[in-house]
Subunit: 210 residues, 2 copies
DNA sequence: TACATTAACGACCGATCGTTTGTATATCTC
DNA sequence: GAGATATACAAACGATCGGTCGTTAATGTA
């Protein structure tokens, strides 16, 4: 009846499980999330996981992969529709903030949670998380360098430096907005980067005033 | 023989346990830390904990208290030796960075880890952590306001805004420095705040050039 | 000295953890 | 259709979880 091949059916439930895992892990972390709770949340049995993954660590690694793809589609891709340079750089910052304020993930940010969880725990998961963060920072750095090459940033800008600032100001919105209710941290994060870029940009018309 | 009163002895081991708990929690989190491992690390039995605390949550609450005191003594107090104003503000930032780079805690920062762990988990521990972070941010905000009142910051500065920036740029050093080895993030965090303050301060002699 | 209190312990509890085993069923290959 | 494979499950495993219980030794109070 159903035309699900076993492989199609398998990869569908695999994707559904990973989506749930990323969602739950944004709240409780990848290790804090237990297979029992994940099974309950997906309406399956926990022993069924072992048909898809050798052990919990393999599932964690695939969850990081899934989250990186989600980030690329939800944050990076929309920002790439803005014209290259300082406008794209700020669009990237705003797309991240929108990702957070839209509540795409219940915990706000998978990578913030998982980064805090694994930054001191050597192993494959930590390495995979570190790679994802490195690639993200490298991408931001490239946007900075491109803006500078287009003459949209004062010449003396260090791309590594500015990329760190943009990332830090954006990422700390997650704990601030969740710990102290209210929208203030979003305003602060947005304005911090906006004013920083406006101060560097020779053409103020490229960026909103406020 | 020993002049330990039972109360003195009790409060001594209580403090020793809390110090260990804060240290371990900076790595694995307050919930990730299990009583069994804490007992092993302190050379005691886990059942002994229940002579000092009703349950794990009470120990967690006291650990937050202990960590807040450590932060006040190791970061806030040294910075207060600098003259009020923009110099104290920057001294505060540098004291925090020194706290991290000195490796006072094996996980870098107790509050970063615990914040990420509890920002989505309602309960007394979350409330206590939120209060500690609120008090810290309020303290930074007051230093900003004082610097502005002394005429050491351009008049248009919003203390909430600048306090958020200083905190975010300082705190994100923790995951960055641990995930990507190297000292770069310390340089970035230091220079970001320094250049921001220098741009606002009418008297550049108050701050180092670089 | 008599008695209460405290610190600390070993042994054990039910629950949950990640994982293994065995089994049933559906799907693909031939 | 036959045999291999993939999906999924229930049941159970040993380990560990937070927590309880009963006890011992030391210290305090009377």
């Amino acid at each position: 009846m159903t035309h699900d091949g076993r492989r199609l059916r398998g990869s569908r439930s695999r994707e559904a499980i990973l989506e749930r895992a990323v969602s739950l892990a944004s709240v409780e972390g990848l290790d804090g999330l237990s297979l029992g709770r994940l099974a309950a949340a997906t309406g399956t049995s926990k022993s069924g996981f072992f048909a898809h993954w050798r052990d919990k660590e393999q599932l964690q690694l695939d969850a990081v992969e899934w989250a990186a793809r989600q980030w690329a589609e939800s944050v990076v891709a929309p920002a790439l529709r803005a014209p290259a340079g300082v406008r794209r750089l700020f669009a990237l910052h705003e797309a991240r903030l929108k990702f957070y304020s839209d509540g795409v993930l219940p915990g706000g940010c998978f990578f913030f949670t998982v980064q805090a969880e694994f930054d001191d725990r050597p192993g494959p998961v930590r390495d995979r998380v570190a790679r994802a963060m490195r690639e993200w920072l490298e991408f931001v750095r490239r946007q900075v360098a491109e803006a500078a090459a287009l003459g949209e940033l004062a010449g003396s800008v260090d791309p590594d430096q500015l990329a760190y600032e943009i990332d830090a100001l954006g990422e700390m919105v997650v704990p601030h907005s969740r710990l102290h209710e209210g929208h203030a941290s979003f305003t602060h994060a947005r304005r911090a980067v906006l004013q920083r870029l406006r101060a560097l940009c020779p053409d103020p018309a490229l960026l909103p005033e406020d």
